[in-house]
Each structure stands twice: as structure tokens, then as C-alpha cells.
């Protein structure tokens, strides 16, 4: 049996971020337990830090909201524009933007102290407009966030052509969210993990948590395939698998469920994109090694991680429409990841009423990479009993529990 102050269940980007911030800011004894399951969202991610883009339903949300609007339109029995911006509440903007602001310094800090590089790139996120409907949509987005006007640039067709010459000449312009950037997602996970290891965190890899040990309402530790781990606090960072662990720890259930996203990746190409791109069909990001990543679908199919030709075709066609040069390239890989979705699209963070020795750090849906930094910081504040830098009330699991 091993004894720790903190056991983190789940070594994806959230668990690894918690391990890093806790190990950087405290002297606690920490174990990070991870098993790589198919569909692990951190490795499947695109690595966009699209704080505004995701908050207004672009990027990863594009297909999601297109589907949502279509369903609403059908339910109402009347024609409403298929694409309407879907804006998340203010608390999410704050959460996402605060996290986003942390990356430049975090990148520097990890590079200098730990020799790891998660390839932070200042890219902006451009929403490409093909027609008048798209322009109306862009107008609606910008008018919904007047306080962020200084983060938005409007580009006409000519400016767009100058900045992104490979984008189709059919585009009539774009809006650019200048504070939205990108990282290499698996390098970010690896950077947090390696830095945490250097800070003394014990990595317990290839290990599955099989059950939670409780005494009354207090969590005492976990049983795993590598033995028993006692702890003062268990942090649930189990991604799409978080509900099972939550249930074992608390006896309750919470609505965290897998939301499948298929992704298409091109072969390496010379640099053809200066920034990240979102259209009303898909998002497109050229990664640090030249590959072009196209995402992503939003499907509720349980833990299924298969690729399907229809979805890959849709994504590819959307991308070729925007970036015709892709027709000269090949699809090198496709995969599917499982986002940890919640009904209100907000994460589930912090304590559970009536349960001791347990914290949630889950339900990050489409934005785990982006919001991992603030999550690591908030969890560290909770563990050390400091006031949290953001109000956690809207993110408490209490919102889903009865009574």
C-alpha cells in the first residue's frame, strides 16, 4: 500500500495540469494514475486555444451548433437560419480567457525550468465567410461580445488573400479573433507530465483505477491494477470516463458522457496557413510539423471510436472548399476522440456537497486543452484552502444533483 496526499485519477491534459500546478506550488506528495484508453480526448485533440472562438461556437463547436440549430428548426416546424451563433455564458468566457492568458508565460516557464516545449504558436482564429449568410452570422457573433471588440479584426477579401493566400478566392472576407492561438496538444500533455515528474510527482502509468475506497462520506484512496493508493484527496480527471469514478466515490451520478469527434489529418505540407481557420463546415489548423488537421464531428455514440467514411468525407469536402490546395495532398490519418460532454457545456469542478477527500476536475467537453491551465490553478487553490481566483459556483456538480 502506498500513501499520498493527492491521487489524481486520469493523466489526460486536465490530470496532468493538476499534477503540474500542485507540484509547482505545494510540497504535497502526489501520484498521477493513468491508463491509455481508446478515445482519450487529449491525444485526439486539435490543440486549439480558441478562447473566443469556442465560446461563440466556432472551432470545434461549429458542427455541433449547426446540428443543434437544425434540430431546433425542425422541432419548431419553421424555417429559421441554419447557422445561428450559440454563445456560452459569461462565466465560461472568463474561465476560457483567463486560462488562455496563462499560456505564453507557462510556455516560457516550462521551457526554461523543465526543457519541454508544447509548441505554443500565436495564430489567431479566422472565421471565413463565403456569402451573405456567413456575414450575418459573423455580425451576430461580434455584436454578442461588445466587450471583446478589441480582440476582433474584420478582413475583407483582399486583406484575407494577403494574409492567407491559399484560402479559396471565393471567400468574401473573415473575422479574426486575435487572442486565439494553438499548441501541440500531446506535447502539452507530455510537457505537464514531464514537468510534474521532475517536480517529484509519482507517475503510475498503464494503471487502471478499479475502485474507490471510502469510509462513510470520506474518500480514503483507490484500488488499482498496480495496488492500493491511500490519499487525503482524490482528484477525478477521468475525462469521458469520469462519471463511473464519481459514482464510486460519492454514490451519485453526474451527466458526463462521451461525445465523439472524428478528425482528419493531412500529410506534412509546406506552410500554407498563417493562422487557424474556422468555417461553417469545419475547423482547419496547420500544426507545427506541417500536417493539416481538420475537425471535427460531434456524435453521441457512447464509447465508439470508429471512423466512418461519411463523416470523413464531409470534413474533407468542407476543408477542400476552403483550402483547394488540399486536393493535391493525401489524408494521412483519421481518428476519433471522446470529449467529456456535459448538458450545459460547462465543466464540473471542485468539491461535492457532503463528500470529503474528493474533487472534480472533469466535464471539459471541447475545451480541455484551452482550460487545462486555469483548471490546474483552481484545483491547486482548492487543495491549499486559498480563495479561488474565479467563482466556482457555476461549475459545481451541485447544479446537477437533486435537492
Amino acid at each position: 500500500m502506498k500513501k499520498f496526499d493527492i491521487v489524481i485519477a486520469g493523466g489526460g491534459v486536465i490530470g496532468a495540469a493538476c499534477a503540474y500546478f500542485l507540484s509547482r506550488d505545494t510540497d504535497l506528495k502526489i501520484a498521477l494514475i493513468d491508463i491509455k484508453k481508446p478515445g482519450n480526448a487529449s491525444r485526439a485533440s486539435a490543440g486549439g486555444l480558441w478562447a473566443i472562438g469556442e465560446s461563440v461556437g466556432l472551432g470545434c463547436g461549429v458542427i455541433f451548433f449547426k446540428t443543434l440549430s437544425k434540430l431546433q428548426s425542425e422541432a419548431n416546424g419553421k424555417e429559421i437560419p441554419v447557422m445561428r451563433p450559440h454563445q456560452l455564458p459569461d462565466c465560461f468566457f472568463e474561465f476560457a480567457l483567463t486560462s488562455n492568458d496563462m499560456y505564453p508565460a507557462l510556455h516560457q516557464e516550462m521551457l526554461e525550468r523543465h526543457g519541454v516545449d508544447f509548441k505554443f504558436e500565436r495564430t489567431g482564429l479566422k472565421f471565413i465567410m463565403y456569402n451573405e449568410d456567413d456575414r450575418i452570422y459573423a455580425d451576430q457573433i461580434t455584436s454578442g461580445i461588445p466587450h471583446l471588440a478589441d480582440q476582433i479584426r474584420w478582413l475583407d477579401a483582399e486583406q484575407l488573400k494577403k494574409e492567407e493566400p491559399y484560402i479559396t478566392p471565393d471567400a468574401i472576407g473573415a473575422i479574426d479573433f486575435i487572442c486565439d492561438h494553438q499548441v501541440n496538444p500531446y506535447r502539452l500533455v507530455d510537457a505537464y507530465t514531464e514537468s510534474a515528474r521532475q517536480n517529484g510527482v509519482e507517475l503510475v502509468l498503464n494503471t487502471e483505477v478499479t475502485s474507490v475506497i471510502r469510509e462513510g462520506s470520506r474518500v480514503m484512496g483507490v484500488e488499482t491494477t498496480s495496488g492500493t493508493f491511500q490519499c487525503n484527496t482524490l482528484i477525478n480527471a477521468a475525462g469521458a470516463w469520469a462519471d463511473e469514478l464519481f459514482h464510486q466515490a460519492t454514490g451519485y451520478n453526474m451527466p458526463v458522457y462521451p461525445v465523439k469527434g472524428q478528425i482528419v489529418l493531412s500529410e506534412r505540407m509546406p506552410k500554407i496557413l498563417n493562422g487557424c481557420i474556422s468555417t461553417s463546415d469545419c475547423y482547419i489548423a496547420q500544426k507545427d510539423n506541417g500536417e493539416i488537421l481538420i475537425g471535427s464531428t460531434t456524435e453521441e455514440k457512447g464509447f465508439d471510436t470508429t471512423n466512418t467514411l461519411d463523416k470523413i468525407t464531409e470534413l474533407s469536402q468542407g476543408a477542400m472548399k476552403c483550402l483547394p490546395i488540399l486536393k493535391e495532398s493525401n489524408i494521412k490519418r483519421c481518428w476519433a476522440g471522446l470529449r467529456p460532454g456535459t448538458p450545459d457545456e460547462l465543466p464540473i469542478l471542485g468539491e461535492v456537497p457532503g463528500v470529503e477527500g474528493y474533487l472534480n476536475a472533469c466535464g471539459h467537453f471541447r475545451t480541455g486543452i484551452l482550460t487545462s491551465a486555469i483548471t490546474g490553478q483552481l484545483i491547486t487553490e482548492l487543495v491549499t484552502g486559498q480563495p479561488t481566483s474565479l467563482d466556482l459556483t457555476p461549475f459545481s456538480v451541485a447544479r446537477f444533483l437533486e435537492g
Partner: protein
Amino acid sequence: MSDLYPVIIVGGGPAGTAAAAQLGKFGIESEIIEEASKIGGVIYRGPLRNTATLPHLDDNLKRSMAALQTRYENQRANIKLKLNTRVLGPEGKSKLLLNNDEVLNTIDYQELILATGCHERSVPFAGWQLPGVMLMGGVQLQIKSGLVKPGNRMALVGTGPLLPLVACQLHKSGVEVVGVYEASQFSKLAREAVALLNKPKLTLSGLSMMGYLKKHNIPFHYGWGVVKAKGEQKLSQLVVAPYNEQWQADTQKSKTIDVDSVGVGYGFVARSQLAMLLGVEHSYSNVSGNVPELDKWQHSSVNNVYVAGDSSGLLGADAAICEGQIAALRIAQNRGKLTAQQATQQASKIIKKLDRIKRFRYGFDRFSTRQVGLMDLAEVDTIVCRCEQTTRGQIDIAIAQGVKDITSLKMRTRIGMGDCQGKTCSSYAIDRLHQAGCTENVGVIKPRFPLDPIPFAMLEEHV
């Protein structure tokens, strides 16, 4: 079970065609998906000649291949062929996505027999990427084509029975073979005499090959191997040296020989990418890489998915035929064409034959077990992963930083993330992790969909 779909067989080599012929005997239809323009597999491969003649094979194998061909021809009515077709991976739950002559389509399956064969094990050493340095299978394909002479002055390095065979074939094709270097000691081969007697005729034919080499003054060196390849634009010199029991080269005694081509043969690795994508459980074998976990009927951990031939572990063509037949018998039983007793009875004769081949084969496997000295051939700046240009030095640093499994190594160094999906580098990477003492949960480079790149343009009109 209803007989809605034909049995889908991926791979038209000995295992796949034997399975199809066996199924046909029970009136069960099958469809063979084959990447080449004709069936037969690499044992036949040769683009522009009548490939029914097999001068490169020993007489026994020639006979069993001829018998297989007859059985196959007799059942042609029950066998559909999809040639020039590569399987890109699973599509949804019970379909495969195919690239058939640059057109994408899907095929449904009920039962699947994977007979995808093997690919070569690549061993990186200084200069291994120079033109003129070839793997042994590549050398053989050029000879079998009857059109390409792999070199004028050649050496062969590696281990196992392919070395004398290819040396004879090269000599017959008019290539000057300046030396054959077998990494293991002769005394080690002598220890396997009992195992080799399981296939006395084959052992004799091996001896006759050694006699042929001697007669033609082709030097065969036991306990010698490659150190490095040298040359400006292409190979011009090969450095070889005596190996000790651990295959560590004694570079004090190294020799430099002038050659324009070298064949490198350290064995083959099961081609298990499709099986892995389908979710079949695999385990690691030192000889064959990742091999599927199968029951005695060649049935995998995934319902109705069978694996036969070299893709289930390297045993060669005659064993592949047996395995294809065994899988077919089980399917015939499941489809109600045979009782359990009949199936078991028919299979037991084949299993007995298979066991004899295995005992013979395992003798050679023990003789040829890769030794740790091979790991030292790659120098710090030698490229291990060609697609991503990952060097040995980068791998060493990652391991020194505490990387203990292949997935983390991949994330850290990009090894195995290129177009070939780790076919070239993963053997070395796994051996290297083992060498560093990481023996548990090393993992594998997981294949990704699609197994071959798909041109975006192919999806342009696709709906």
C-alpha cells in the same frame, strides 16, 4: 447463422487461397481481397512472367504449392477475387473500407479471415539508408521478377535460412556474391539438430545449398555481421566484423569489402496493422513482433475474425496453408456444413502437420534470436524513423528522461508517427525499450486509420 455474405479473406497468399479453397469444398462462397494484380502472395510475386513456376523454392514446398493451386482452381466457382485492392481499415462496425484501383468503396463482412502476411524487420546501422542497402525480401522480389539484378557485387548479412537460399539465387542470377555473414555461431546451429530433423528433407536441401555455395567458392561466415555501410551517393563499401555470442562486433578485427549492394536479413514481422485496427488482442513475440492471440482454430479475440499465415506469427508458406485450412474448417462448422466432431477430426491431421513445422521452425528461431549487440549498430546520429527523421540519439535522451513505453516515446520523439505507421522503426524502438529494462507495458505503435494515405481528391465527388 445465415449465409448472407461470402467469407471475406484479406490477402491472397498461401493462407488466404488455402482458406478459400477449403471453404469452397463445403460450398461456402468467399471473396479474396488482394493488393497485387494477381493472387499468390509474395512467395509467387513476379510481375511479368508465368509465376506458376517456382525455381526459388525447394521441391517439397513446390509440390505443396502446386497442390494448393489445383485445389484453388477446382473451387474457383465459389471464390470471388478483388485484385488491386488495399484495405484501408474498418468502416463502422462490420465493414471494411477499400481502395480498389483508386476508387473508395466498402464491403460488408460476417466472417473475416486476415491473411495479411509479414513485412521485413528493419535494423538501423550507420549507412543503412544508402541506395544499394536492401532488405532481403526486397532482394528476393527483384530476383523473382526476373528483370532486375539487385547488384553486381553483393554481400549478404543477417541470420537464418534465407541467407544461403538468397545467396544461391543471387549466384544463379549472375551476381558475384563476395560473402555471406551469419550473425550466429555455427555451434549454436548444431545445438538445434534435433529440431531440424522434424523436416529432414528441408534440412537436407539446406545442406545442399551450403554445398552449392562451397562449390562456387562463396564464403559463408558464421559469427560475423555488419558494422556499417559506406559510400557517397550510394553504397560502395561494407564494414563487417566478427560477432560474439551477444552479436557485439569486434571492430578491432573488422574488414572493409567493396560491394555495390548488400542484402540485410534479420527476419520478418507479422503484418498485424489491420487486425489491431479491428481490435484484435495481440501480444508481443520476439520473433514475429505483435502477433494476435488466437485459439487453436485461428480465431481471434474479436468474434468471427480469424488470422492465418505469417500475419499470425512467422512460420512460412506450408504452415500458412495449414492455418488457412483450419480457419476454414471452423467457419464451415459454424455455418452448419460440418459437425463439431467432423471439424475436429479433419483439423487434427492438419494441426499435427503444423506442429511438426513449428518444431522445425522454432529451432531456427532459437538459432536466430536477435542479440543485444545489434542495438549498438545505430550511431547517435543514425536515423531510426525515416518518416519523422528521428535519430537514435533522440531516443536515448527520451529514455534517459524516464520514458518507459512506446506511446510516450512516440509523443516525445515523433517516432512512428509518419506515413508508414511505424513499420520500419517500431521493431527497433521496442527492442531499445527492452534493452533499457522496460519489459512491462511497453505497448505498441498503434496503427491508425487509414492504413494507406487517401488522396483528398478521392473524396471530392464522394457522397
